[in-house]
């Protein structure tokens, strides 16, 4: 259990460290990849907590997700290389306050609650994966299917939003004003 606590702490600190780098570097690709490594560290925490399937899934999904993030950062930032030392943030004090207070509240709850006895044994990875599969296609099937449909909807919606619109109305508008 101590070894487990140690690994959870190490990966957790890595996650926090990379998480801080995300908002402290001005190079956008660094920012995105720092987030990736933060998420990977979270995935490693899952592994340390003997949740193999979720850990590996997290590590896998984030690689692609954050790479996409990186290219969007480069597309949409004025200064993707971080050359100009530009400050891209606002309402700093308020944000820090909000972040710290949220964390403090959560920490306080974590410390003050009585969590009762901890389970010290969990099934091995294979059994877990099997049980999770049963859960997915059994009791939680509705949720699982809903998530699937939602993703499909979001994909279609996002694509529809992103495709350029042939905006005839605004064209006519412009012509009439001239």
């Amino acid at each position: 259990m101590y070894a487990q606590a140690f690994f959870v702490a190490v990966f957790g600190l890595a996650a926090i460290g990379f998480g801080l780098v995300v908002f402290r570097t001005s190079s956008m690709v660094r920012s995105a990849l720092a987030l990736l490594f933060s998420q990977t560290a979270v995935g490693c925490m899952f592994l340390a907590m003997q949740t193999e399937f979720l850990g590996v899934l997290q590590i896998m999904m984030m690689a692609t997700e954050m790479s996409i993030m990186a290219i969007f950062m480069v597309m949409f930032m004025m200064d993707p290389g971080g050359l100009g030392g530009m400050d891209m943030s606002h309402q700093k004090r308020f944000s820090i306050g909000a972040g710290v207070s949220a964390a403090v509240v959560a920490i306080a709850i974590a410390l003050l609650s009585d969590w009762g006895p901890l389970a010290d044994q969990v099934p091995d990875a294979e059994a877990q994966t099997r049980a999770l599969g049963m859960e997915l296609l059994g009791r939680s099937m509705m949720i699982f299917e809903t998530a699937g449909i939602t993703i499909l909807t979001a994909m279609i919606a996002a694509t529809a939003v992103a495709i350029p619109v042939q905006n005839l109305a605004s064209k006519n508008d412009k012509e009439s004003s001239e």
């Binding site: 690709v29 990849l33 193999e52 399937f53 590996v56 899934l57 690689a63 692609t64 954050m66 990875a125």
Partner: protein, 298 residues
């Protein structure tokens, strides 16, 4: 012990591939060439471009190598010759290979050069498409084995290899593996005639040696994955299990190298179109077929 044996096998296969690569380039088969090549790289200057993103530039080749080796770690050469027989081995391969993308993007952004950068972003597009074709055929394989454990996947093929059971999946996986290893004809990120080397272009000396080794190792890992998922892994008559694994892996790896020699590079638009319009629907069809087979054939 197991670790040493697997790493040795990996290194040996990479060496063999290097020899074959040299033969394709010069027409001479010289077994010592890769060793001398490596030594020569050590002797050369390792130039850092003028204004690199140093962290990415240095980390990219190493990350690529680590990823390739990690992928190999969950693939069995023989029933007990495997570094880590994870409960989620088949998924872990995906996770490891996803970081090939990260490494290439880092190599593309790091040197601060236009060719490398275009190469890196090209690979992003290429891999978002083709990693689907890695994941979905593996899903069908795992369905048949009813397990994500790689040794169990090989075990499920003892009577019939997956290449016969789900040939469509094999074809898709093989193509996607080549795209992932960015060998010709999928070498868009490194295209010599288009990008003058692309993501490889700025690496010299030791870094280049690591990068080359990593790319060869990646081919071996992918070939080994193909063997485990589709070619029945260690199954085979007469020879010991590990020998069959090695033979099959090398055969797949060499075929990956040879295919590129006789084909022109794919046009980027076609590459994307084929994957999204044909590849992914076919992969879904493959999953449905396998599902039906599992239900119908006891």
């Amino acid at each position: 012990m197991t670790v040493a044996i697997v790493l040795l096998a990996l290194l040996g296969s990479a060496w063999l591939l290097a020899v074959i690569e040299g033969w394709m380039a010069t027409g001479r088969l010289s077994p010592a060439a890769p060793l001398f090549n490596g030594l020569a790289h050590l002797g050369r200057e390792s130039i850092v471009p003028r204004s690199p993103d140093r962290v990415f530039f240095e980390a990219a080749p190493v990350l690529l190598l680590v990823v390739a080796v990690l992928g190999m770690a969950v693939l069995p050469l023989a029933p007990d010759l495997i570094i880590a027989d994870l409960g989620t081995g088949a998924l872990f391969i995906n996770a490891a290979l996803a970081y090939v993308l990260v490494a290439v993007i880092m190599a593309g952004w790091g040197p601060d050069g236009a060719y490398a950068m275009i190469g890196g972003w090209r690979f992003l597009g290429q891999l978002i498409a083709y990693s689907m074709l890695i994941v979905m055929p593996i899903t069908a394989v795992a369905m048949r084995a009813e397990s994500l454990v790689n040794t169990a996947i090989v075990g499920s093929q003892s009577s019939l290899w997956n290449i016969v059971y789900q040939p469509l999946g094999f074809v898709l996986f093989f193509i996607a593996a080549m795209a992932l290893a960015f060998r010709a004809p999928f070498d868009l990120p490194t295209a010599e005639g288009e990008l003058g080397g692309g993501v490889d272009a700025e690496y010299t000396g030791v870094r280049l040696a690591v990068l080359r080794l990593a790319r060869l190792t990646l081919v071996v890992t992918l070939a080994s994955a193909t063997t485990v998922f589709y070619l029945g892994g260690w199954h085979g008559p007469l020879l010991p299990p590990w020998a069959w694994s090695l033979i099959k892996t090398l055969a797949v790896a060499v075929s990956m190298l040879l295919v590129g020699r006789y084909l022109p590079r794919i046009r980027e638009a076609d590459l994307m179109r084929w994957c999204w319009i044909m590849g992914i629907p076919l992969a879904l069809v493959n999953i449905i077929i396998v599902g039906l087979l599992i239900l119908v054939v006891p």
